[in-house]
C-alpha cells in the first residue's frame, strides 16, 4: 500500500502498457477482451483513487513522483497532477473501458492487436497528461501517435492509408518544431542558471526575453494548433475521423484532440506570458473562424461522421477562445478558462457518444449517409433517446454539460471582447442548427428505406457503453461543481498568475 501510494501515477500510466504487452504476447481474442476490459477498469479505479485523495483547495501539483533518467542533462521523469490535468486524466480513464466494451463483439481482424493498441494509446495519453518534464511530455506526445497510426491504418475505411499518413505527418511537423523550441527553452534556462533542467516546474521560472518568447510560443502553438485542430490546420481531422474505426474516432475526438488545448494551458500560456499578449488575438481570431467555419461546414455534410468531425472543429474553437480571453488588467478570465476546461470534458463525453452512435447505425447499415436514414425514432427508440441526449449535450442545452461550458466561455469572453463573444455565440446557434438537422434526418420523418424497417434497437452491450455517457451528459449539466470543484483553485491560479506562474510540489 505504501508502494501504491507513492507510485500511484506511474502505476496509473504504465498499467495499460503492461496490459497491452500481455495482450500482445498471449494468443486468443477472449483473453485480450478480458484483459483489456479488466485493465482499463482497474486503471479507472486507480484514477478514482487519485480523484478522491486530490486536495482541491491546493494549487500545488500532487502525487508527485520523480525519477532520475539522465542526470547529466537534468532530464528527470517527473509525474504529477494538478486540477487541470486531473479532469482530463479522469476523462481518459473513463472513456477507455467504454471503448473496449464497444469492441467486445466486434468482428474486426486481429482484434487483440486492436485492443493492445488501445491500451498502449491510453498509456501515451495518460503519460502526456501527468508528465511534468518537457522531454517526457514529448516522448508520450509522440508515442501516442504510433498506436493511433495503426488503429486508423489497419482497421480503418477505404482511404485509411491516406488518412493515417496525413494525420501522422501533420502532427509530426508541428511537434518537431515544438521539440526544437523545447530545446531552446532548455538551453536558455541553462544559460541563466547554470543548471540543466527539463522539468517544467523549473522552466516556469525561467525569464526569457520577449523576442525569443514570441518564437517559442509560435513553435509550441503550431504543434498544439495542429493537434486541436484549429482552422486552418484542421484538414487532417475529417479524413482521420471518416476513415478511423468507431473506437478510434471516439478516442481521437474524446481525448487526443484535448492534448492540443491542454498544451496551451500547460505550456504555451504560463511559459511565454509576454507572447500571450501578442498571440492571443491571432489565436482567438483563428478560434472564432474555426467555430463558424466548422459549424457551416458541418451543416452541409451528407456523411454523419464527417458532420460530427466538423462539429469538433467548431467546439474546440470554443475551447481555444475560452483559454485566451484576456481581460483589461492583463489577466485571463477565470470564467472563460473554467468553461474551456469544462468544454474539453464535455466535448469528450458528448462527441464520444455521437461517434459511438454513428458507429451503431453504420454497423447495421454499412452506410453513414444521412439520406439513407430517416424515421429511425419509430424503429430504434432507445437509440433515438441516446442520440437526442448526446445531441443536446453537444448543442449545449441548459441542463447538459455543454451549456455550462459554453455559457462560461461566452461570459468570460464577453468581458474580454464583446465582439468575439458575439461571433462565438453565433456558433452556438449554428451548432443547434446542424446538430438538430442531423437528428431530424436520422430520426424523424417517415421510414424512407425498406432496409431500415427491421433495424434492431440497441443491444445490451451497446446500451452498456452508451448509458454511462448519456448519464454523464446530464449529470455534468446539473452538478458542474462536482467536476469543477477539483480544478477551481488551479484554474484561478493560472488565470490570475500566468504572468509569473509557478507550480509548487506537494510533499505528501
Amino acid at each position: 500500500m505504501e508502494f501504491f501510494n507513492s507510485h500511484v501515477l506511474s502505476i496509473l500510466t504504465f498499467m495499460p502498457l503492461v496490459v497491452a504487452g500481455a495482450i500482445f504476447l498471449v494468443k486468443g481474442d477472449q483473453f485480450a477482451r478480458i484483459a483489456a476490459l479488466g485493465g482499463s477498469i482497474l486503471t479507472f479505479f486507480v484514477s478514482l483513487h487519485v480523484w478522491h485523495y486530490f486536495d482541491a483547495s491546493s494549487v500545488k501539483v500532487q502525487f508527485v513522483e520523480s525519477y532520475v533518467w539522465m542526470p547529466e542533462f537534468g532530464i528527470r521523469a517527473i509525474f504529477g497532477v494538478d486540477g487541470i490535468s486531473l479532469l482530463l486524466v479522469m476523462l481518459t480513464t473513463a472513456l477507455t473501458p467504454l471503448v473496449i466494451l464497444s469492441l467486445w463483439h466486434s468482428h474486426v481482424a486481429h482484434l487483440r492487436y486492436f485492443l493492445a493498441s488501445v491500451m498502449a494509446l491510453q498509456t501515451g495519453m495518460l503519460g502526456a497528461l501527468v508528465a511534468l518534464d518537457l522531454v517526457f511530455f514529448y516522448v508520450f506526445w509522440e508515442a501516442m501517435l504510433i498506436p493511433m497510426y495503426f488503429i486508423i491504418g489497419i482497421w480503418g475505411g477505404a482511404r485509411r492509408i491516406y488518412a493515417t499518413t496525413k494525420f501522422v505527418l501533420y502532427t509530426v511537423v508541428g511537434s518537431l518544431l515544438m521539440l526544437a523550441a523545447a530545446i531552446v527553452l532548455y538551453i536558455s534556462y541553462y544559460r541563466q542558471t547554470g543548471m540543466y533542467s527539463t522539468s517544467i516546474l523549473d522552466l516556469y521560472n525561467a525569464t526569457i526575453d520577449p523576442r525569443t518568447q514570441l518564437w517559442l510560443f509560435g513553435c509550441f502553438a503550431l504543434a498544439f494548433a495542429i493537434k486541436v485542430p484549429m482552422w486552418p490546420f484542421h484538414t487532417w481531422l475529417p479524413d482521420a475521423h471518416v476513415e478511423a474505426p468507431t473506437a478510434g474516432s471516439v478516442i481521437l475526438a474524446g481525448v487526443l484532440l484535448k492534448m492540443g488545448t491542454y498544451g496551451f494551458l500547460r505550456f504555451s500560456i504560463p511559459m511565454f506570458p509576454v507572447a500571450v499578449k501578442s498571440f492571443a488575438p491571432v489565436l482567438v481570431f483563428l478560434g472564432v473562424v474555426g467555430i463558424i467555419y466548422g459549424a457551416l461546414t458541418a451543416w452541409v455534410q451528407k456523411d454523419a461522421k464527417k458532420l460530427v468531425a466538423y462539429s469538433s472543429v467548431s467546439h474546440l474553437g470554443f475551447v481555444v477562445v475560452g483559454s485566451l480571453a484576456l481581460l483589461a488588467d492583463g489577466t485571463l478570465s477565470p470564467e472563460a478558462l473554467t468553461g474551456a476546461l469544462y468544454q474539453m470534458i464535455n466535448h469528450g463525453v458528448s462527441t464520444g457518444a455521437l461517434f459511438f452512435l454513428v458507429g451503431v447505425i453504420y454497423e447495421r447499415r454499412h452506410t453513414r449517409m444521412l439520406e439513407d436514414f430517416g424515421g429511425l425514432a419509430s424503429v430504434m427508440p432507445w437509440f433515438s433517446v441516446m442520440l437526442i441526449v448526446a445531441t443536446l449535450g453537444s448543442v449545449g442545452l441548459p441542463g447538459t454539460g455543454g451549456f455550462v461550458g459554453e455559457f462560461l466561455i461566452l461570459l468570460g469572453t464577453f468581458q474580454s471582447s464583446p465582439l468575439t463573444a458575439l461571433l462565438a455565440g453565433s456558433g452556438v446557434l449554428l451548432g443547434a442548427i446542424y446538430m438538430l438537422t442531423l437528428c431530424r434526418k436520422i430520426l424523424f420523418g417517415p421510414v424512407k428505406h425498406d432496409e431500415n424497417k427491421a433495424l434492431r434497437d440497441l443491444t445490451p452491450m451497446e446500451f452498456a457503453y452508451l448509458l454511462p455517457l448519456a448519464i454523464l451528459v446530464i449529470v455534468m449539466g446539473v452538478f458542474p461543481d462536482f467536476f469543477l470543484g477539483k480544478s477551481k483553485a488551479s484554474i484561478e491560479h493560472l488565470a490570475k498568475n500566468y504572468r509569473s506562474y509557478s507550480l509548487a510540489v506537494d510533499a505528501h
Binding site: V68, W69, M70, P71, E72, F73, I75, V135, Y138, V139, F140, E142, A143, L145, I146, Y149, F150, G153, I154, R160, I161, T164, T165, V168, L169, V172, V173, L176, L177, L179, A180, I183, V184, Y186, I187
Partner: protein, 496 residues
C-alpha cells in the same frame, strides 16, 4: 624533421587488436591454399578465434582517459570505443551471414582474409594520430571493401557497383591525400597533435586553408555527403547486403571518429574556412537524401539515401563543433552514431533475413503484407523505421534530441530548421514501409521473400538484440550510455 616513431611495449599493447587481426588474416590466407585446412569450418573457426581475441584485446587492455602517443597510435578511450564498436559490427555481420545464402561464399579463405584486413585497417585508422597511418588504415579498409563488394557474389551488377565505388573512392582518397600533404607542408608535421599545436600560427595561410578544405571534401566523399554521394546508392544496392550493412555502419564510425579528432581538435582554429562548406554539405544531404529516398522503389537504395540523410544530421552536430563548448556535440555525435549503427544493422538484418538466392534485390513492394506472413520480422522492421524517423520511444529519438540540442546550443537555428523539415519528409518514406507491411495486401508472388518463422534462430536472436537495444537506448538506458560516452569523449575534447 621526420623521424620514425620509437616502438615501445606500450605500442604493442595499443596495437594488440590490430596485430591479432593481421595475424588472423595471414592464417586464413594460407589456409585457402591448403586442401587440408581450407574447409569452411576450419576457416570460420580461425576467423572466430581471431575476432574473439581482437575483441578481448580491445576490451581488456584499458584505454586511458587521455590518449598518449604510442608509436603513432592513440590508446585513448575514444580509440577503444571506436575499435570495439567496429569489431561488434563485424561480429554482428558475420553472425548474420552465417544464416544467409551467401554464407558459404563468405567463409572462404581469401574473402575471410580480406575481411580481417579491412577490419585491421579500420582499427588502425580510428586509433591513429599520424596522417600517414591514418591514410594507410583508411585505404586498407577501402580497397578491401571494393574487392569484397564485387567478389562475394560475382555478377555483373555487383562488379559494376564495385568499380563505381572504386573509381569515386580513389578520387576521394587522392583529394584527401592532397589535403594531408598540404597540411603537412604548412605545419611541418604529420602528427595530429603537432598540427593542433602549429595550425593556429598558420591558420591564415592559403595552403593550410586549402588543405583543410580538401580534407573536408575527402571526408565528405567517404561519408557520402551530398554532392559527393553519387557512389553510395549504387554501391549499397549492388553490394551483397551483408557487405552493405557492414559498409554503411563501419565507414561512418571510422570517418566520424576522424572528423571528431580533426574538427574538435586541429581544425577548430580555422572554423571560418570549413564551417560554411560543411553547413552546405549538411543542408544538401538532409534535403537531397530525404527527397531522393521518397522516390525509391528498391529497399536498399531507399536505405542508402536515408543513410545519406543521417550523415547530414551527424554533419549538423559536427558543425556545432566549430564554436566553443564542444563537449555537447561530441557526445551527440557519438550517441547518434551508436543508435544509427544499431538500427542500420537491424534494418539491413531484416533485409538479409528476407532475401532469397533468386531475389536478392528486394523492392518495397516485396514487403507488402509482411505482417501477415512474418509478424515478428515486420514488428522488428517497424521499430527500426520509427527509430530512423526519430520517434520516441526509440534510440533514434534520443539521438535526434542530442543533435538538435548540440546545434541549438551553438545557435545553429537554421540548420535545425532544415533538420526538422528533413525529418518530416523522412517520416513519409519510413511510414510507407510500415504501411506496406501492415496495411497492404501482398502483391509480390508467393516465395518472393523468405518466410521467417518465429522461433530460436541466429537471425531472430540478432534481430531481437537490435530491437531490444533500440528500445532500451530510447527508454531505460540513455542515461547509462551517455555516461559512458562522456568518458569516451573526454579523450577527444582533451586534445583541444
Amino acid at each position: 624533421m621526420f623521424s620514425f616513431p620509437e616502438i615501445t611495449s606500450s605500442f604493442y599493447m595499443t596495437a594488440a587488436p590490430i596485430l591479432v587481426l593481421v595475424t588472423g588474416a595471414m592464417i586464413t590466407l594460407l589456409q585457402s591454399v591448403s586442401r587440408r585446412f581450407g574447409s569452411r569450418p576450419a576457416i570460420e573457426f580461425v576467423m572466430w578465434v581471431t575476432m574473439v581475441a581482437a575483441i578481448a584485446a580491445a576490451a581488456v587492455i584499458p584505454g586511458e582517459q587521455v590518449g598518449h602517443l604510442a608509436g603513432g597510435l592513440l590508446s585513448g578511450t575514444m580509440s577503444r570505443f571506436a575499435q570495439l564498436l567496429i569489431l561488434a559490427i563485424a561480429a554482428f555481420v558475420m553472425l548474420m551471414v552465417r544464416d544467409h545464402h551467401t554464407g558459404p561464399a563468405f567463409f572462404r579463405g581469401e574473402l575471410s582474409s580480406i575481411f580481417l584486413m579491412i577490419l585491421s585497417g579500420m582499427l588502425m585508422m580510428v586509433a591513429s594520430d599520424d596522417l600517414v597511418s591514418l591514410f594507410v588504415g583508411l585505404e586498407l579498409a577501402s580497397i578491401g571493401l571494393y574487392v569484397v563488394i564485387g567478389y562475394l557474389q560475382p555478377n555483373r551488377r555487383s562488379q559494376e557497383g564495385a568499380i563505381k565505388y572504386f573509381i569515386l573512392g580513389s578520387v576521394a582518397a587522392a583529394i584527401l591525400l592532397f589535403g594531408f600533404a598540404l597540411l603537412y607542408a604548412s605545419c611541418g608535421t604529420m602528427r595530429l597533435s603537432g598540427i593542433v599545436a602549429n595550425l593556429p600560427s598558420v591558420a591564415s595561410h592559403g595552403w593550410a586553408r586549402l588543405g583543410a578544405l580538401m580534407t573536408l571534401v575527402g571526408l565528405g566523399f567517404k561519408l557520402a555527403l551530398v554532392p559527393f554521394h553519387m557512389w553510395a546508392p549504387d554501391a549499397y544496392e549492388s553490394a551483397p547486403t551483408a557487405i552493405t550493412a557492414f559498409m554503411a555502419t563501419t565507414v561512418k564510425v571510422m570517418i566520424l571518429v576522424m572528423a571528431l579528432r580533426l574538427f574538435a581538435g586541429s581544425f577548430s582554429t580555422m572554423a571560418e574556412v570549413w564551417y560554411p562548406a560543411l553547413v552546405v554539405l549538411a543542408v544538401l544531404s538532409m534535403i537531397v537524401g530525404n527527397i531522393m529516398a521518397l522516390v525509391q522503389s528498391s529497399l536498399k537504395r531507399m536505405l542508402a539515401y536515408s543513410s545519406i540523410a543521417h550523415s547530414g544530421y551527424m554533419a549538423v552536430a559536427v558543425c556545432a563543433l566549430s564554436s566553443a563548448g564542444s563537449g555537447l556535440p561530441v557526445r551527440a555525435i557519438l550517441f547518434y552514431l551508436l543508435s544509427y549503427v544499431l538500427v542500420s544493422l537491424g534494418a539491413f538484418g531484416v533485409v538479409m533475413a528476407l532475401e532469397t538466392p533468386d531475389n536478392d534485390q528486394l523492392t518495397i513492394d516485396d514487403l507488402s503484407g509482411l505482417a501477415k506472413k512474418s509478424p515478428w520480422i515486420a514488428f522488428a522492421m517497424t521499430v527500426f523505421m520509427f527509430s530512423f524517423a526519430g520517434m520516441p520511444p526509440t534510440a533514434g529519438f534520443i539521438g535526434k534530441f542530442f543533435v538538435f540540442n548540440a546545434a541549438l546550443s551553438n545557435h545553429l537555428y537554421g540548420l535545425v530548421l532544415i533538420g526538422v523539415i528533413g525529418s518530416s519528409i523522412s517520416l513519409f518514406y519510413y511510414l510507407r514501409l510500415v504501411v506496406r507491411m501492415y496495411m497492404s495486401e501482398p502483391v509480390a508472388p508467393f516465395g518472393a521473400v523468405r518466410a521467417v518463422v518465429p522461433g530460436i534462430s541466429l537471425t531472430n536472436a540478432l534481430l531481437a538484440f537490435a530491437v531490444l537495444g533500440t528500445l532500451l537506448l530510447g527508454t531505460a538506458l540513455p542515461g547509462v550510455a551517455m555516461e559512458r560516452l562522456v568518458r569516451t569523449s573526454a579523450d577527444v575534447v582533451a586534445r583541444k
